[in-house]
């Protein structure tokens, strides 16, 4: 009964701050926005047009060199598009014939770019074909089958407000990838940070308010042990985040399921991950709340610890994660030295002191950043096809472990709350 009394009290305190209404409102807005997103399967010809447009942006050298689609067709029609064999011809258009004659690099770049974007076409072969226009170089591509496993792996273009506002060629990804992106980046990443930041601000006064002179006497004179009292208050704070995350994530999961037909329940685990991430930060807030009885100081210290953990995680990840193969290839392609460089590099330039410091801090501090990486892997495994995951090189982050990350975080929560309880239990009020 006492536990539920505190839970209800924390809920009342949260409602009083009005922030819960704001977060619920934001969640609802996000749900409505996502509910209005339409996903359109993009035909191969349109994808190739987009490719040429992007090629112009990336390699066009100030629009003096452009590319365009000459021809595109599915050889095994009327088979489903995602099972198709394709043949298409792309032209690289130069300002004059001389430049076209020496345009092997640009043609190579277009081939590279095509292979990168159409990584899912199997057995993609390319040959140079004659062109009537001598200032153009024509490349003919043929493929046999794809690495896709369903319609949802086929590139889709999202359009806001039921397709009224299409987002364009830059935003063409598989439907599964879009669901993954919304769940992982938009909700878990940006949304999670926003919820946790708001929660830090809203819940930071819980403990200092309870310990305020004139208020603490009422509570500590009741027949309840002080550590239990603090633990109940702590759980009350976690409930705020849990409820927010549950409503936002549950709602978005439902809306995405309705709109895309992809009902991946793993996304719901994010509710627990976000709450657990907040649990680490709230343990810091609780400790400083007990020590200082100041909400402002609690917020500042919590944000400082959060920043430190984030920086340590980021530096550690950057040091230990090799450059992606696609990034290496892009670097090579842009420098015009395709196939000549050394491939992916593991930050050889990072100094040893940085490496040692990052390793040491990562070993002893809560691995909240690792939790984010692990969640990304978890969601990608659930939503993306094997081919997409290979293409996006998710296996690069495989070194992180759930057990170690959660274990160290739990140990920290235990230590911080233990210190807070000890101080609270022995202090005179």
């Amino acid at each position: 009964m006492k536990f539920f009394a505190f839970l209800k009290d924390s809920f009342r305190e949260t409602l009083d701050s009005k922030v819960l209404y704001v977060t619920f409102g934001l969640s609802l807005l996000l749900m409505l926005l996502l509910g209005s997103v339409s996903f359109r399967m993009v035909p191969i010809k349109e994808q190739l047009d987009g490719l040429c447009w992007l090629y112009g942006l990336a390699f066009g050298q100030g629009s003096s060199t452009t590319a365009e689609v000459v021809d595109a067709r599915q050889l095994n029609a009327p088979e489903d598009a995602w099972k198709g064999d394709y043949q298409f011809t792309l032209a690289v258009r130069f300002p004059d014939e001389d430049r076209a004659r020496s345009g092997a690099v640009q043609a190579g770049q277009l081939e590279f770019f095509t292979r990168e974007m159409f990584w899912w076409l199997k057995d993609l072969k390319v040959r140079k074909v004659d062109s009537a226009n001598k200032s153009e170089v024509h490349l003919e591509f043929t493929s046999r089958g794809t690495r896709l496993n369903s319609d949802r792996s086929w590139p889709h273009e999202p359009g806001l407000f039921f397709g009224a506002l299409p987002l364009g060629p830059l935003f063409r990804q598989s439907l599964a990838y879009w669901v993954y992106w919304i769940e992982n980046r938009l909700v878990n990443g940006a949304g999670g940070w926003l919820v946790v930041l708001l929660a830090v601000v809203v819940t930071a006064p819980f403990v200092p308010n309870m310990l305020r002179k004139g208020t603490v006497d009422f509570i500590v004179s009741k027949p309840i042990r002080r550590p239990a009292l603090l633990a109940f208050k702590y759980i009350g704070g976690l409930t705020f985040v849990f409820l927010n995350a549950l409503i936002a994530i549950g709602g978005i999961w439902f809306v995405l399921g309705l709109r895309t037909g992809i009902w991946a329940p793993g996304f719901l685990v994010s509710v627990l991950i976000i709450t657990f991430f907040f649990a680490v930060l709230y343990a810091v807030s609780t400790l400083f709340g007990v020590l200082s009885r100041s909400a402002i100081l609690s917020i500042l210290m919590t944000c400082a610890v959060w920043a430190i953990l984030w920086v340590v995680g980021l530096v550690y990840k950057n040091i230990h994660t090799p450059e992606s193969a696609s990034a290496a290839r892009m670097r090579e392609a842009q420098s015009g030295r395709l196939g000549q460089a050394e491939g992916p590099q593991t930050n050889p330039g990072s100094p040893s002191w940085l490496r040692i410091t990052a390793d040491s801090l990562h070993a002893v501090l809560p691995r909240t950043d690792d939790l984010g990486t692990l969640t990304t892997l978890f969601l990608s495994n659930e939503l993306l096809s094997e081919g997409e995951r290979d293409h996006l090189e998710f296996k690069r982050d495989i070194a992180f472990s759930w057990t170690a990350s959660i274990g160290i975080c739990l140990a920290y929560i235990g230590v911080l709350l233990g210190l807070a309880c000890w101080r609270f239990a022995t202090k005179d009020y």
Binding site: T215, P223, K427
Partner: protein, 312 residues
């Protein structure tokens, strides 16, 4: 004989270099109203906080309802209104009592009947669903009293219960305290309003700088031995010179006269003398000192030795 409702023996508490309590011993019987007096910083609130387990790390012995002070089981049988309290303002009066009631282990059924009743008793029934931030200071004080009483405790600690309450409200609280006494509840009262303490307390103790410097029944402490006020019929004058010749100390006191008796004297010869003079005695009372007089006198007595130069 019942065990004391609360008892301390050689209770001492130190905050750093400050000695808040220096060997305080007291005992309060069940059903008694005990008033603890003292200047600010005398240690009154510290004593209550020790008994309730709010303050830790003290020396000596402190027992509440027969149990060591601060025991959880005992706290459910105790009500407490702290001084300068602040309620969480996101609560309404009713929801606050619900919350505290749950912490005190009061059953849902009992809370359902008890909360409206106690709020009605303290005059907050019509504002029970208003947020506390909308309450006046007096209303918050009444709510404080309500929360201290809502679980029908055996011992009630009231630290400045009438602080901020208007005269009518003060009278109602005094009446409530006397009703609680009639129900054999023990009340431990800290108050600066000595007039109120005098009106309702059975016994008082005076704390000064952490020491119990005087303790006893109010009636006994306020009696001023050997001092009488004498009043005669209108137009008559007391022959002061004659009485002084009889070795009485007489001094005018408004329209009356104050007569101080020496240790071996009684008032009877004075009465006989007045009658023998054909005067009409209209007023004769033994003069009592107020609790405030006693309090100030006690403090003065205790301060005096410290003002003397310390012999070397």
């Amino acid at each position: 004989m019942n065990a004391p409702a609360l008892e301390t023996r050689d209770l001492a508490k130190r905050y750093g270099k400050i000695e808040a309590l220096r060997g305080v011993s007291l005992s309060v019987e069940p059903g008694e109203i005990y008033g603890l007096l003292g200047q600010n910083g005398a240690g009154k609130t510290t004593l209550i906080k020790i008994l309730l387990g709010i303050t830790r790390n003290w020396k000596g012995e402190a027992r509440l309802l027969g149990q060591p002070a601060g025991k959880s089981a005992v706290l459910a049988r105790v009500g407490y209104l702290p001084e300068d309290h602040r309620f969480p303002e996101y609560h309404t009066g009713a929801s606050l009592l619900q919350f505290y009631g749950q912490l005190l282990g009061v059953s849902r059924d009992l809370r359902r009947t008890r909360i409206p009743a106690i709020l009605d008793t303290v005059g907050l029934a019509d504002r029970m669903h208003t947020k506390i931030r909308g309450y006046s200071k007096g209303m918050k004080q009444r709510l404080g009293v309500a929360q201290a009483l809502m679980h029908d405790p055996e011992v009630i600690f009231l630290d400045e219960p009438t602080d901020g309450v208007d005269p009518l409200g003060r009278k109602e609280i005094r009446t409530m305290i006397l009703q609680l006494k009639a129900q054999n509840r023990t009340i431990f009262l800290n108050s600066h309003l000595l007039g109120e303490v005098e009106l309702i307390c059975d016994r008082v103790g005076i704390l000064q700088k952490g020491r119990m410097v005087r303790e006893g029944e109010v009636a006994t402490l306020t009696r001023q031995k050997g001092s009488f006020l004498v009043g005669l019929a209108p137009g008559q004058t007391l022959p002061v010179a004659e009485l002084q010749k009889l070795d009485y100390v007489v001094a005018p006191y408004g329209e009356r006269w104050e007569i101080h008796l020496r240790d071996d004297q009684t008032i009877d010869p004075v009465v006989d003398f007045i009658r023998s003079q054909g005067l009409n005695l209209r007023h004769l009372v033994e003069k009592r000192q107020s609790l405030e007089d006693l309090f100030l006198e006690t403090l003065k007595e205790r301060e005096a030795p410290t003002q003397r130069p310390v012999p070397r």
